[in-house]
């Protein structure tokens, strides 16, 4: 029984999140196959005739090599070589093919024969290394000087002369091969599969070739090449994943070979691309279509503090606090004592002044202390006593509370002329004090009144609700709508301000220009306003600076008077409590539900996603990519390749270029598919469907696949080398020396001379 984490609500629009998938995929290990064995037997056996050819399928995905007498190529390895000097061992190292994967450094130093995306040989040092490897593994001992067996090699369609020249040079000069023949791999494969008239579609690692063949003769002038193959698929998928999961797919974490395995294991050709993509991200059945790949990850360490540790930390904190408090208290006490001493001293002075024999002496004493006269001294003493008392109360608490008497302001009632200077000053002081006191009392009273008012409103609201439930609910709902609307407006305004051409932005510019200009009120000056336009007198004017501030962020909103978010929440809780129809679903929260989000289904599948979890952050989901990647061969514009798709190319060859050809219909009856791309599930069916759509009704289209698409080229070449007539097509070393480096003997399974 599947276990749902959230209860299913009958009327809910929310989709049920699925439980985590049972089969997650992992990235593959590097394809290290171990050391390929050396076998000397065939070499020894064929020593008598010296005629057994070595067949080499020089492919961009893998080199396949072996003797012509064998059923399958003995050696199959990628065309890579790693040659470097190891620092620790201080010697030169060289590794070929899949053996480089045993070591990380070697893998980093690996170079390929071909440049990425091309099927023309680029790096000849690697080619030499690969050939060395082939000869060694096939047991060539070189006793006769060089390789002493003829060689058949495959080359791409319309291979460049330069490439063939350098290859021949290597074979003849460096390895002393007695005879060499070249051929096109797809034609070998077609021949092997018994084809005579047909259209060969060879979709391989770096390119796709279409070659019409009539009576075993290829019409190379009508052949065409589409630059898309499995290597480009790998690059495409890497790019797609990089944008879908930023930061996750870096070249250090995920290598090319791993992505290649992903393409091989997860991608297939869709039969109806448009329909299938539209239905791909639908919730129902998404867990079947979506495939989860888990990258290696590291669990974040949450340091679990034990109970003891927590308690100790608490204690320490409290200790610290207490210590600080004690220090503060001590300081205050010291100050208090000092103040008391001072008051004592001043009291002393007062007594002395009062007891002073002459006014002059009193004056002198006062001057010493810098007091104006006795009254000032008196006042000072009283002040200090008051503060001391207050402090004592607070800190030590040993004096009793002074009763809060209503302070009397006796002098306020006496008119001014009855008082002397001092009296007037005293009166002013008293007035001030009274004003303060009154203000405080007023504030308190207001607060009370406010609370009263709130309570009153609440009571009214409740009464309203009890009285007339329906309309109350409707009122609340209407309120909620307006708040939602205002939130949306606010967001839209913010977005508008970002866009340079919007109305809001232009108004803002107008305001700024107005403020900055010398004639803010236009060309005509208002009457009576000579220079001063009165900006700033009215408080509302300053609001303009708020308006033109473009970079308003959310902090502003929070200290504004209307906090729309909080309002909304409040209203929703009310509604939730009382309104029977307002459920969890209708709240603003639920509307941003991830189960309804298309993007979530795309990036995270039908499963909940936890941001914090390291495991989930290191996962990626393949759903649309599974069909998007192989689809490019039918629609190259998906990946930005500016060429026609496969079906369009067939159409153009068959319907336009060869429309009058006698054998055209015969060709359509044998559409032969070979090459690694044909291994995608659904490739042939899709081809049949699409071809039937574009080709005339009477043309019976039949599509067939090579028996083993990746090996048939080699097997075809091996088979061809065994025939009598093929030997006539080999170019011997002597001939080559005589006729020049670019000499080529044409045959029906090879290129033509250009």
């Amino acid at each position: 029984m599947p276990h749902f984490t959230i209860p299913i609500l009958a009327d809910s629009g929310r989709n049920t999140p699925k439980e985590p998938p049972t089969d997650t995929f992992h990235l593959s290990d590097p394809p290290y196959q171990g050391q390929l064995p050396t076998d000397l037997s065939t070499y020894r056996r064929s020593a008598s005739t010296g005629d057994t050819a070595i067949i080499i399928d020089n492919g961009s995905f893998s080199i396949r090599a072996g003797w012509q007498t064998e059923a399958t190529p003995r050696l199959q390895f990628p065309p890579l070589m790693a040659r470097y000097t190891d620092r620790k061992l201080n010697r030169k190292l060289m590794f070929i093919g899949s053996e480089i994967y045993f070591d990380g450094t070697a893998r980093g130093q690996a170079k390929s024969i071909y440049e990425p995306g091309s099927n023309i040989v680029n790096n000849w040092d690697v080619q030499e290394g690969v050939l060395d490897y082939v000869w060694l593994k096939l047991g060539i001992d070189g006793q006769q000087g060089g390789v002493d067996r003829p060689v058949v090699m495959t080359e791409p369609l319309a291979n460049t002369t330069y490439t063939r020249k350098v290859m021949s040079e290597i074979l003849y000069e460096l390895y002393n091969v007695p005879a060499v023949a070249y051929g096109v791999d797809s034609l070998f494969s077609y021949n092997y599969n018994g084809g005579t008239t047909g259209l060969v579609i060879s979709s391989a690692h770096t390119s796709t070739h279409l070659i019409p063949v009539v009576d075993k003769q290829p019409l190379l002038s009508h052949a065409t090449r589409l630059d898309w193959g499995r290597a480009q698929c790998v690059e495409f998928l890497t790019r797609l994943l990089k944008v879908k999961y930023p930061g996750l797919i870096t070249s250090s974490k995920v290598t090319d070979t791993q992505i290649e395995d992903l393409v091989r294991n997860h991608c297939y050709v869709s039969q109806d691309y448009r329909e299938e993509t539209l239905r791909m991200l639908e919730w129902a059945g998404l867990e079947d279509r979506d495939q989860l790949v888990q990258l290696p990850f590291q669990e974040k360490e949450i340091i679990q503090k034990t109970e003891e540790e927590l308690k100790m930390a608490e204690e320490r904190r409290r200790e610290g606090g207490r210590r600080l408090q004690e220090q503060a208290a001590k300081m205050r006490l010291d100050k208090l004592i000092k103040k008391e001493q001072e008051t004592e001293y001043l009291k002393d002075v007062l007594i002395r002044v009062q007891e002073a024999p002459t006014k002059k002496a009193a004056r002198e004493l006062l001057d010493e202390e810098e007091f104006k006269d006795e009254a000032a001294l008196d006042r000072k003493i009283k002040e200090m006593e008051k503060t001391i008392r207050k402090q004592r109360n607070k800190d030590v608490g040993d004096l009793e509370e002074e009763s809060k008497e209503v302070p009397a302001y006796p002098l306020l009632s006496t008119p001014d002329d009855e008082l002397d200077e001092d009296g007037i000053r005293a009166k002013k002081a008293q007035r001030l004090l009274k004003a303060n006191h009154d203000a405080r009392a007023r504030a308190k009273a207001e607060k009370e009144a406010e609370k009263e008012r709130q309570a009153e409103v609440q009571r009214q609201d409740d009464a309203y609700r009890e009285r007339d439930f329906e309309s109350w609910v409707n009122d609340r709902r209407a309120e909620r709508q307006t708040v939602v609307q205002r939130i949306r407006d606010r967001d839209r305004l913010k977005a508008d301000l970002g866009n340079r051409k919007s109305q809001a932005s232009q108004m803002r510019m107008k305001h700024i220009a107005n403020l900055a200009s010398d004639n803010p009120n236009g060309k005509k000056r208002r009457r009576g306003n000579a220079d001063d336009d009165g900006f700033g007198a009215d408080d509302a004017d300053w609001g303009i600076y708020r308006e033109i501030q473009a970079g308003r962020n959310d902090d502003d909103e929070e200290d504004e008077e209307e906090d729309l978010g909080a309002q909304l929440k409040g209203l929703e809780t009310l509604l939730l409590r009382f309104d029977p129809q307002f459920t969890e679903q209708s709240t603003q929260e639920a509307q941003r539900d991830w189960t309804k989000s298309l993007y979530h289904a795309f990036a995270r599948g039908p499963y909940a996603f936890d941001q914090e979890s390291a495991k989930e952050s290191a996962q990626f989901h393949l759903n649309v990519e599974r069909i998007r990647v192989p689809e490019v061969i039918f629609q190259p514009s998906i990946a930005g390749v500016d060429q026609a798709g496969l079906v369009e190319l067939v159409e153009s060859i068959m319907m336009e270029r060869l429309s009058g050809h006698a054998q055209r219909d015969a060709m359509l009856k044998d559409v032969f598919v070979t090459g690694g791309y044909a291994m995608f599930q659904g490739f042939e069916e899709r081809l049949v469907t699409e071809l039937r759509a574009v080709l005339p009704l009477e043309a019976a289209v039949k599509v067939r696949r090579a028996r083993i698409p990746v090996l048939d080229a080699w097997r075809g070449a091996a088979g061809w080398a065994g025939t009598e007539e093929s030997r006539g097509k080999f170019v011997s070393r002597g001939e080559w020396m005589e006729k020049g480096g670019e000499y080529l003997r044409e045959h029906n399974l090879g290129n033509v001379f250009t």
Binding site: F102, W135, D141, A158, E173, R225, F236, L598, Y599, V624
Partner: protein, 193 residues
């Protein structure tokens, strides 16, 4: 040296290294007197440009010299008549007669090549560049750049295609670098040179 298989340790790894190393194995089948020419690693662009230049010069030579009688219609002479040695071809491409050659060349190329082998005056009919597939003539189907579903809408600011309003919100929130990454997948990014 980083051992990558968890099963191996330092010793076995070193042993494996020695076993797999090709450098130390003698290769008697190699000719010790032959040295490879310098700078033979050429990438595709270089090879093709050199080939086309050689082509042009050959055409020039053929047109200007009296070596071969200009064949009318299909070339019947075999490939041997075309001297592929570019050293003999004229190097001066700026001659006025180049225009004439070019027009001739185009005329022969436009006519459907009936012979499998190129011959005579015309350019060879099958070269690496000539068999490259032409651009598509059918209207392109548009797909959403973010999700890959068929899209009906384009964002005017960035040029990205999107599937629905929800994806549009995401498109709006993308930074410039991300937008360029999405467009690069389609080949529609701006490249500053």
């Amino acid at each position: 040296m980083a051992p990558i298989t968890s099963a191996s340790n330092e010793e076995t790894h070193a042993a494996l290294l020695n076993q797999l190393d090709m450098q130390s194995i003698p290769k008697p089948f190699r000719n010790p007197n032959w040295k490879p020419p310098q700078r033979r690693n050429k990438n595709l662009k270089q090879i093709l440009s050199e080939a086309s230049r050689a082509q042009q010069s050959i055409i020039n030579t053929q047109q200007n010299s009296g070596a071969t009688t200009p064949a009318v219609g299909d070339g019947t002479t075999g490939p041997a008549s075309l001297n592929p040695n570019p050293a003999q071809g004229s190097q001066d491409l700026s001659r006025l007669v180049l225009d004439k050659n070019n027009t001739n060349l185009q005329a022969t190329q436009l006519a459907p090549p009936t012979a499998v082998t190129g011959g005579g005056l015309g350019a060879p009919s099958v070269t690496y560049t000539s068999i490259q597939a032409p651009p598509s003539l059918k209207p392109k189907q548009k797909y959403c750049d973010i999700t890959g579903l068929p899209s009906k809408y384009t964002d005017p600011k960035t040029g990205l295609q999107y599937y629905n309003a929800e994806i549009y919100q995401i498109v709006r929130g993308l930074g410039t670098a991300q937008v360029q990454e999405f467009l690069a997948i389609r080949g529609a990014n701006t490249v500053l040179k």
